[in-house]
Symmetry: C2
Subunit: 303 residues, 2 copies
Amino acid sequence: MHTSIQPKTHDRTTPQRVAFLGLGVMGYPMAGHLAQAGHHVTVYNRNPEKARQWCAQFQGQSAPTPALAAAQADIVMACVGNDDDLRAVFLGPDGALAGMQAGALFVDHTTASAQVARELGTFAAQAQVAFVDAPISGGQAGAQKGMLSIMCGGREQDVERARPLMQAYAQASTYMGPLGSGQLCKMVNQIAVVGLLQGLAEAMAFGERAGLDMEQVLAVLTKGAARSWQMETKGPTMLARDFKPGFTVNWMLKDLGLVQDEALRNGAQLPGTTLVQQQLEAIASQGGLDLDISSLFRPLARS
Amino acid sequence: MHTSIQPKTHDRTTPQRVAFLGLGVMGYPMAGHLAQAGHHVTVYNRNPEKARQWCAQFQGQSAPTPALAAAQADIVMACVGNDDDLRAVFLGPDGALAGMQAGALFVDHTTASAQVARELGTFAAQAQVAFVDAPISGGQAGAQKGMLSIMCGGREQDVERARPLMQAYAQASTYMGPLGSGQLCKMVNQIAVVGLLQGLAEAMAFGERAGLDMEQVLAVLTKGAARSWQMETKGPTMLARDFKPGFTVNWMLKDLGLVQDEALRNGAQLPGTTLVQQQLEAIASQGGLDLDISSLFRPLARS
């Protein structure tokens, strides 16, 4: 599978030596944008075939371990699956931290827990390495276009230092507060998204069953108090039964797991979010793990 | 209580004889805009003091019954509380229908059931009177500014006939389909709004408990996939514990009652909506009937 990226006009910035760990759906194009912006990028991926493919496409180089990828880098970016994957590429004898030089910066784009950001930040500090948690939103399309939105936690000067690089694939990167704040902000985002989507799914299914012309309904509702980005983009695809991701049920279940863990710590009540999580679990158990989260509409629709 | 309206530049339109039934929070300014647009408005209100006040403010006239208000009117508008109030002003010896001439048009701005629109439409047809269901959205502020959004059901030519008048207080009026379709579209809107608001409330409360700078969080989230009109307008007021209506818990509970009745007929499943309805019931039972629906945040917030 060849992942293309869309050309982006890059600001002139001093070329830097960068390592990028994790060439998944998001990381692959993000690393590509860094290379196209003129940086010297060394990639690492658990599956080396993907790394070879990336090197062929972007004339970069790859390394066999995170430590070796990180050894020559000023800044190391990572975008992996979850807390455990992140620990694996960061810690241990082959992990990035073992290779990083004092004064280098680690920027984690994984959507992970705030806890693991603080935990790895502590290890980083002991090695005089800076750590920033910087989860992203904007999905695969945002990564390909280089138009992600990034929520950053850590020390403000470290975020500032990462910003010129992140500009290669971001439309906005915002400082949110101390380590973990990026992750917490992403969680707030996901809570808002799933409540909104469930309401939208119920509204669309109700309207269909009521026999309304739903195209017309959407045209009216997107001008009023129910208006949302999700309604504008996912309303029509729900009605068309088009559940291509976008953002998968699988990914959202992972993110809601992080949300619930954090809620146990901070005491937040999440009755609506928990209900949507159950709906998503049911969709997943019926083979829908890789559908877009707008498939919340599916169990509600007549057919 | 003096209800002011904000000046609006009215399109030139042929002055018509209009009756307006119901001078509540919405009807009072709507009838005012009609008068200011140059129409000859006769008002009726259950509480005559309010009608006297309206006449003094807008140099109009009032009638002691709906039938008498409607007797000289080309078009009769109503904006009353619920199905029963609507039956009361439309049917019976003193009701509008008894006074209306053949060929006149009744436009109902009440948020009511689709059933009552069809029921009264049948009575209207027998008397050669046209009936349009035309619930509104935009709230009290929208009514005062003359910027409501109107969803219309009935015969298309009847909606067209009402349009020049509705322009006095609407920014948009859209034809949705046969009688009841306006009401059904409004229900779709309310389902989408409450799901969205619950998600927003949980997100805001979670973020506060997580210790985030919530102003900053809102600034970031309103640029992304969680973006909504409610987030932009109600996010900040939730955080400020400002629950002035807006749109009250009481009104939304009424609308969700209509939604649930209709769902029993059309088979729609509403797990999220039902959950939010329970939250609103709980707020109502604790004295919150007249708070804005964004008070969904209140039981979730630390204080």
